[in-house]
């Protein structure tokens, strides 16, 4: 179909012909890159706040029991293992509905974190401490409370960032 004689389209075709026959330059492609809003600040804020909240909850539940020194830092460091583990588990379960995968993932996280807290309190507690280490059940309870808080806070924190964060 080459009978569209409008000036602009003709010009376009003529230009193409001329370029094909004569151009000695390489095409200078200049693709437009659409700017994307950076998401790192929001992820850092939401994730960081949720972990802090969880740590605070666990600390509150176990405050009267024997704990290692720098317990808060231990709890935060623990997430360097459990958070990637949680994400890997979600990826492994992504054929399920997201809500089902999240429930399974969170359950596993509660159990694993509870066990880790128990081990921390049992083996890293100062030896001279007069306070007894918490039981495994109490550690899981603390983990459950902490994770429940952070899960509940996650959407609130995300919404808060959208409202008050940088535009």
């Amino acid at each position: 179909m080459k009978t569209n004689y409008t000036g602009s389209s003709f010009g376009g075709r003529a230009g193409t012909v001329g370029a094909a026959l004569l151009a000695t330059f390489a095409a200078r492609a200049n693709p437009i890159v659409l700017p994307e809003k950076p998401v790192a600040p929001e992820i850092t804020f939401v994730l960081g706040s949720a972990i802090l909240l969880e740590v605070a909850c666990v600390w509150m539940v176990l405050r009267r029991w024997g704990r290692p020194r720098l317990f808060v830092l231990w709890l935060m460091g623990m997430h360097a293992l459990t958070y990637p583990g949680f994400m890997a588990l979600l990826a492994a379960l992504d054929e399920l509905r997201p809500v089902s995968a999240a429930v399974i993932g969170e359950t596993v996280v509660v159990v694993v974190e509870g066990a880790m807290i128990y081990l921390l309190c049992r083996f890293l507690r100062p030896k001279k401490s007069e306070v007894a280490a918490p039981s495994a059940l109490r550690c899981w309870l603390a983990s459950l409370a902490g994770n429940a808080c952070s899960v509940a806070a996650f959407p609130i924190l995300s919404a808060a960032f959208e409202w008050f964060g940088p535009r």
Binding site: T3, Y5, G7, G15, V17, A20, L22, A92, R97, A102
Partner: protein
């Protein structure tokens, strides 16, 4: 350790319950089957074979689970966040994706899914998944007949709409089928009524049942349903003669769109009796009705239709003339009177009529070319080389306009003798309407470029064409100079002050691309390029701005280009 065991148990429980084939879950095969385009047959067949290998007995529970999937706020929120945070390794599937995967399973396994009919029938009561269930049922075949009958009265109009044609495939008797769908002619939703009329119209082996129903559908308030009914009746031909009087009535008294639909049907049902109604519609109908009637008359009474069309091409009313031009464009270019009338319309004072006529003429020429396959126009007394005429050499091209090496060598060997023939091609106009022929003209222009410096004797003629009244020809003439080396630069500089914006714009463009080989000549063009920055044409200004920035950024900055 206990935690790790729990992880394993949960993952295995969540993933392992599903049937697998070649290490992949049924869901993943179903997703592949659902989201593979039909063109990717190998991938599609692979997925379908996998689903068949798993078999209906094992697959149905999973397929039904997928079909039942509903959106929940948590999942929706999680999917939004996954996308927003660009988490690349999570590939969630929306409820719709999963439902489509379920439907794909029913499409593959077809009648083997009969055991699922009971469960799918229950799902018809669930507003959120009723349509999905109906889509599954339509693949199950005869076993789904009763369920599809229930679909006809479902609360979701999409289910009713789908079940009308689906039921046709599972009902053995036409009378039974028509009896089942007949109540849907009074459905509240016009799309359902439309589908019903369409389905009835398809029952061409039972005109005695279908025609009365289609006649009753002529009273439908929706124009689309009405049109479908008229089309259906037309499809029955002489078997629907009982509808003739109703259609005749509507063709004279209905609203404009209904008149047109009825006219088409009248012409098909009884061409002889319909002719006076059509000719009457040409004379008394609106512009659009006139167009429809003329098109229908063309097949019944071609001579009368042509006479009436030629009259309408001279109508005082612009809209009627415009419609007549559209009808004229459907004729053969050689039909007596048509070319003259269109040329006259193209020269009309009314710009809209002129533009429309020109467009119609081009359309007719293009169609003629496609029909006859006449790519190569024959010119008498063209030079030849090695026994082949020029036209044959000019057809030796790679993609687009690039000539094959043999053709270039032949052109160069023919020397200046070939120039008059190439100029004749460049200025060629097709004989019927006297329109430019882009392909022939560009073959002349590109051949002149291929001749390189040997084309120099053509420059005076090309320069004269650039100064002519035809902008498109002026542009092609300028392009034809491009092979002549430094001399082409003078032509391009002249092009910068040409009266046609397209020539000025392209001249600036070529000077940038082609002029790099001749920096001194290009330098002389810069003041003219600066002049184009205040060109009355916006495209020329924009082009000149870009080209000037590339050729001479300093001059561009001095002229105020940022």
């Amino acid at each position: 350790m206990g935690g790790l065991v729990l992880v394993l148990v949960l993952v295995v429980a969540a993933r392992g319950a599903e049937p697998r084939y070649r290490g992949r879950t049924l869901t993943s095969w179903l997703e592949q089957s659902s989201d593979t385009p039909l063109m990717e047959t190998q991938r599609l067949v692979e997925a379908q074979e996998a689903v068949r290998a798993i078999g209906a007995a094992k697959a149905l529970p999973t397929m039904l689970r997928l079909v039942r999937t509903k959106d929940d706020p948590v999942s929706t929120w999680m999917m939004e966040k996954t996308e927003k945070y660009r988490v690349r390794n999570l590939h969630w599937h929306s409820a719709i994706d999963r439902q489509l995967a379920g439907i794909a399973g029913f499409e593959v396994l077809g009648t083997n899914c009969a055991p699922a009919v009971g469960e799918l029938t229950k799902l018809l009561n669930d507003k959120e998944v009723a349509f999905v269930a109906a889509r599954c049922l339509e693949n199950v075949g005869k076993a789904a007949e009763a369920a599809l009958c229930r679909c006809l009265t479902n609360g979701d109009w999409r289910v009713r709409h789908l079940s009308v044609p689906a039921l046709a495939a599972v009902t053995d008797d036409v009378e039974v089928y028509i009896g089942r769908i007949k109540p849907r002619l009074s459905d509240a939703e016009s799309a359902v009524r439309f589908a019903t009329v369409q389905a009835i119209a398809a029952q061409n082996e039972a005109p005695e049942l279908a025609v009365p129903l289609l006649i009753s559908a002529l009273g439908d308030s929706d124009d689309h349903v009405f049109s479908q009914a008229t089309e259906g009746l037309a499809g029955f031909g002489t078997n629907a003669l009982s509808a003739f009087s109703a259609l005749t009535n509507l063709a004279t008294t209905g609203t404009d769109s209904r008149r047109r639909a009825a006219l088409k049907a009248v012409a098909k049902l009884s061409p002889g009796e319909g002719l006076p109604i059509l000719s009457n519609a040409v004379v008394s109908g609106s512009a659009q009705t006139m167009g429809t009637a003329l098109r229908d008359m063309k097949a019944i009474a071609p001579e009368l239709a042509l006479r009436m069309l030629l009259v309408e091409l001279h109508a005082a009313d612009g809209r009627r003339r415009s419609t007549a031009i559209s009808v004229a464009s459907t004729y053969d270019v050689r039909t007596p009177g048509i070319a003259e009338a269109l040329k006259l319309a193209a020269a009309s004072d009314d710009p809209e009529t002129a533009r429309h006529a020109l467009s119609a003429m081009r359309q007719m020429v293009r169609r003629e070319k496609e029909k006859t396959g006449a790519v190569a126009v024959r010119f008498p007394n063209e030079p030849s080389y090695q026994g082949k005429p020029l036209g044959e050499w000019l057809n030796m091209r790679h993609d687009g306009w690039e000539f094959e090496t043999n053709a270039v060598l032949a052109l160069q060997a023919m020397g200046t003798n070939v120039i008059p023939a190439l100029l004749a091609r460049l200025t060629y106009r097709e004989p019927v309407f006297g329109l430019d022929d882009y392909d022939v003209s560009m073959s002349g222009a590109t051949a002149l470029i291929a001749m390189r410096e040997r084309a120099k004797p053509a420059l005076p003629e090309l320069t004269a064409l650039m100064d002519g009244d035809n902008g498109e020809l002026a542009l092609r003439a300028m392009i034809a100079t491009l092979g002549t080396g430094a001399d082409a630069m003078s032509c391009l500089m002249e092009g910068l002050t040409n009266r046609f914006p397209s020539v000025r714009s392209e001249a600036a463009n070529f000077l940038t691309q082609f002029g790099a080989q001749y920096p001194e000549e290009r330098k002389r063009a810069i003041p003219l390029m600066v002049g184009l920055l205040s060109d009355p044409d916006r495209d020329v200004r924009m082009n000149a701005t870009n080209e000037l920035k590339e050729i001479d950024p300093q001059a561009a900055a001095k002229a105020g280009v940022k």
